[in-house]
């Protein structure tokens, strides 16, 4: 399924997991369970040795996955096996794509049912060649915007992104935080309604997810909170969290309708 199709049924819950954590064999089943629990898109991370945009939780997951034998070949096998009827999105660092060859990487994504790519260390200025490869293979290339992205740059990123726009909720790296900042609300408000927008970085509870949807986001991305539960082997609690988050954002969407008095 293309990402644009998925965004017809807003609000969406996007769940990030690190492929290969705790083992490559466990990943396809985990993806299926997350889909059953209500995830609308799975963001499947390819672990990198130097994940500069990630906090300690996802760094540790990447190290576990690499130690368990995850590499790019295994990643695409696992992604193919994780056969679900919701879109899967690749999330990973540019050097992993560059090392495989941009065209081959995009082709492998398409072949293994991956609809889009999120590359946190690839700004649009450097993305020309990968963008062309993605176009050739019908894969979306999702760009990120941050609270400190100035207006003209935000407009450029909006034009360049495909699938959706990933809004980084706050300064810093990935990882659970306890509050939603005014920065996040402001950023959501700065993006016009026509652009599908997903908010990630620091969202770990159903309450935060609901707040982000009420602030006007179309989707919420939850990562570290899920990765943390996987690290502790608490898969049922993970499914529970996904169910609660999904319920919370649905309720938030309804309550967002303007109140006429």
């Amino acid at each position: 399924m293309r990402l644009s199709e998925a965004f017809q049924a807003k609000p969406l819950l996007i769940v990030y997991i690190c492929a290969g954590d705790p083992s490559p064999a466990a990943t396809p089943d985990l993806v299926k369970r997350l889909a059953r629990a209500g995830a609308d898109i799975i963001e499947l991370g390819l672990p990198h040795s130097d994940p500069v945009a990630d906090g300690p939780t996802i760094q540790a997951a990447a190290q576990r996955a690499i130690a368990a034998g995850m590499n790019t070949d295994v990643y695409f096998l696992v992604a193919s096996e994780a056969d679900v009827d919701i879109p899967k999105v690749f999330m990973g660092y540019y050097n992993m794509i560059f090392a495989r060859g941009l065209d081959k990487f995009a082709a492998d994504c398409a072949r293994s049912g991956i609809s889009g790519m999120i590359v946190p260390d690839l700004p649009p200025e450097e993305a020309g060649p990968l963008h062309e490869a993605c176009l050739r293979h019908g894969v979306d290339l999702v760009f990120l915007a941050a609270p400190n992205t100035p207006p003209a740059r935000l407009e450029m990123i909006q034009k360049e992104t495909s699938g959706f726009l990933y809004l980084v909720a706050r300064a810093g790296v990935t990882g659970a935080r306890s509050d939603i900042l005014q920065d996040t609300r402001d950023l959501i408000a700065r993006v016009p309604d026509g652009v599908p927008k997903a908010v990630g970085f620091g969202i770990s509870t159903p309450e935060q997810a609901a707040e982000v949807i009420r602030a006007g986001a179309d989707a919420v991305i939850v990562g570290s909170a899920c990765v943390d539960l996987i690290a502790r082997g608490e898969i049922e609690r993970l499914e529970q969290l996904v169910r609660e988050m999904k319920a919370a954002i649905k309720a938030a969407k309804k309550s967002k309708a303007p109140i006429v008095c």
């Binding site: 906090g55 050097n95 992993m96 450097e126 915007a145 941050a146 740059r153 990123i157 980084v168 790296v173």
Partner: protein, 397 residues
Amino acid sequence: MSYQICDADKTKFGRYGGRFVPEILMQPILEVTEAYERLSKSKEFRANLEGLLKNFAGRPTPLYHAKNLSKELGRKIYLKREDLVHGGAHKLNNTLGQALVAKQMGKTRLIAETGAGQHGVATAIVGANLGFETQVYMGEVDIERQKMNVYRMELLGAEVIPVRSGSRTLKDAINEAFRDWAASFEHTYYLFGTAAGPHPYPSMVRDFQSVIGLEAHKQIMEEEGRLPDCIAACVGGGSNAMGIFAPFLKDNVRLIAVEAGGRGLGRTDKTADNGASLGCGTDGVLHGALTKILQDPFGQILESYSLAAGLDYPGVGPELAFLKETGRVLPKMADDKTALQGFRQLSRLEGIIPALESAHAVGYALQEPEALGELAIINISGRGDKDLATVMEYETL
């Protein structure tokens, strides 16, 4: 600060360089770019920097005719004495420049990464002198092998933050510094220590370090009435090498970049036995730039190795990658043993204890004297006091 060799958009050297960074860091990096471009044209800024280089750092450093080493090698060898810069290495040339940029930008806190500790010390010095809060990220492995520099940084009022992720060396210290900056950019300036990283760092660090080569160019003409046949400098990220090479790029002078050969050319799934990214690496993206890196076939970064912490880095500056590709700079290697030979020989022959990093360039010269031509300059990027414990330990093994 007089030389430039960039593309039209100025962010790249040929296909190398660029800005491969998370979006949250784009704006801080663009602000540094803008500030540097503005200030590098400002007479007041340059006068301020030149004053500090002269009166605080102790520049110009001598270009010393090493008579005994010359005799040993059967050719005329000059040493560019960056070991005499305040702090004990060339690093202060860059930290003074960038700290003045940070001051102009209104930042109050400096962060830095350090491998051997020399860049950390140089950052701590400017932090103390120019009134910044300073925090330095340093890998646990490096903290262990460079205890003296850790103490020096603390004495200078900086906080050293141990890095426990990955290989716990320079590469991981850089990752942590970027993560810090992604959350702290409003009041914090990332003072990058080598001519690598995202644009504008490779160009800015080269420019601030090119004072080495500008002085050497003038000094060798005064002494010899001609340019040298060869210049040799050690390369980790490449700041001392680019600093001395840059003003000679258009001249007919052979430029030799001596990388860490470490234990040899061996590799495992996760590690390389050397730090020779220029000579043995392949194209890839690390720390914000497309350059030559040590990586596995899937693009995972290998842990490098060198006895010299300052050369223990799996990447290299993008401009050096470009200059290697065009054939202008020749990458060579000196392994641990060769470096130790250089360390001892220069101490005995000249009464100069070089940093283990610089000792790689000396060791290479001892091994391949004919590559130096008749008249050569070796860049002694730092002094070796910090390395005594490492060398003593190595000798007992």
